[in-house]
Symmetry: C2
Subunit: 348 residues, 2 copies
Amino acid sequence: MSVLTLNCPVPVAVRDQVMLGHGSGGKLSAEMMREIFLPAFSNETLARLDDQAVVNIGGSRIAFTTDSFVVKPLFFPGGDIGSLAVHGTVNDLAMGGAKPLFLSVAFIIEEGLSMEILRRVVASLGRAAEACGVQVVTGDTKVVDKGSGDGVFINTTGIGVVPDGLFLSASQARAGDAIILSGSIGDHGIAILAEREGIEFESPVVSDSAPLHELVADMLRSSNAIRCLRDPTRGGVSSALNEIATQAHVGMLLQEESIPVRDEVRGACEMLGLDPLYVANEGKLLAIVDPSDTDRLVAVMRANPLGRAARRIGTVTKSDPGWVTMRTVFGTTRIVDMLAGDQLPRIC
Amino acid sequence: MSVLTLNCPVPVAVRDQVMLGHGSGGKLSAEMMREIFLPAFSNETLARLDDQAVVNIGGSRIAFTTDSFVVKPLFFPGGDIGSLAVHGTVNDLAMGGAKPLFLSVAFIIEEGLSMEILRRVVASLGRAAEACGVQVVTGDTKVVDKGSGDGVFINTTGIGVVPDGLFLSASQARAGDAIILSGSIGDHGIAILAEREGIEFESPVVSDSAPLHELVADMLRSSNAIRCLRDPTRGGVSSALNEIATQAHVGMLLQEESIPVRDEVRGACEMLGLDPLYVANEGKLLAIVDPSDTDRLVAVMRANPLGRAARRIGTVTKSDPGWVTMRTVFGTTRIVDMLAGDQLPRIC
């Protein structure tokens, strides 16, 4: 199962073609960003490489973010491509501290898709948007011939407003900061994988897909000490933290025993040879915060149903800038590198 | 060649699946919008069904529009999917009178796409954005497995600012208004079709793909009498005018002899059994304007290279609300219905 090759080295000669790993959110994605996209679109806002752009229009700070969703299968325990397309974009806005306001939705449908499936996806998307308090105000539909797509792909692009004076960005992280995680990791990726490969567990694994903007609002209301927020989606916790470490030129040291992983997820990962640190989440966030505010912030997060298992998982360090390391449960230290290959394609 | 079936009646039983015609911008697209999308996302802004939403943020009127591009082939005379993805979204913003400011760009790439082709597409997109004065500030890349996509699909979503006091909308059209067209029709659709099917002409047909925001700025600077602008892309002039007629509950009467069609395009259409009124354009606009300003506005448009062949092509009528009719060159009158089937799939 090529799906499960973890950190496989990629022969350089193959890189004259796009590979699945280029969409993994790991090393190959970063390489493609650096070599193909950044040179063509160079500007300061894009170069910050946050999950959302923040632009100034008429005195308002507008957050703007886009995501395409190609998850397979379309329906999975805990959600579907429609609800995921809302949560993913709402969360990218929330990670910039923005209040999500409006969404555009664009469908690329493969000829022959059942109208009933489309109706279910669209209805789910509509319900998720309503639950998040965001309006779908514009859209587009394209149809491609059979065999040129795969059921339906959805792009959602969101705009929101960032409060005055708030500036969350990966570049803000500094040595001594605490790293807080909002809950258990790996649920989304394992739920998708199990559904796709027909793997059954004693207690089923359900995606954590959820909108985090209210959790973020609670956090921002109670603390001025948040430097940066990131939702560890594709590429998991490891890739999100590596991106921050690179952007801010800092190191990070994690404590393995403090990182919550559900028993079913841990079991599935062991069976399949996966590392939960690389598995996607769709309803979790990482916060980099001034250490003085850690306890208060963790308490605030735990009061929200989506942050019940929040805890500090590590520290930003001055040493090893650009690297994430982890003190394991065995007392050893290992490097937590960015995902190199394609662990789980089409996870979102 | 199913590609060329024009206005084919669609058996109702087939509509439990999505067909290529649902992406045509014609009757089936409108039906899908009405039956699947509008019920799920109901809100006032979306219900206006303009090419862009205009929302109010902090006192600014922000135009917001999304489009996915699935054109086949990726490169064609006069452009490529990269430049088209910029022009299409810039034009949707411009049709609302907005100054285009920022773009998001999201790629869905099929595994195995040549990195060199991707590089060319991305570079072209970057050049087009720069030429339009818009910044690509955020993006996303997904990779799907071979056979689940087709090279590359691109979503661009744009935001711009609408000047105070300006309200262009299809619903504004009223009886007596003049209908102005900025130039010859059918160039984009025929260029794509010729490239795709390997049809050669004595003088090659080149796509009209171009950004119209400066032409629109010229027009708005010189006239307060513009009710609505529309770029006749998928579904062509016929679908754009039918949409306005439906939204504004007005009729429209066109003069066939006043509608400019290049000789090569007319010849290709005759040979292939196509009606230029249904063929896509990517650098033309329709303006509905108070009749008193027609001559001045046409003169202003002709002074811009993208409006050199501008002329009045018809009149908005009180009679036949919801219908577009045309006085033919033979002196007869015919109904110009919305596109019913799929004339040219994957044209944009």
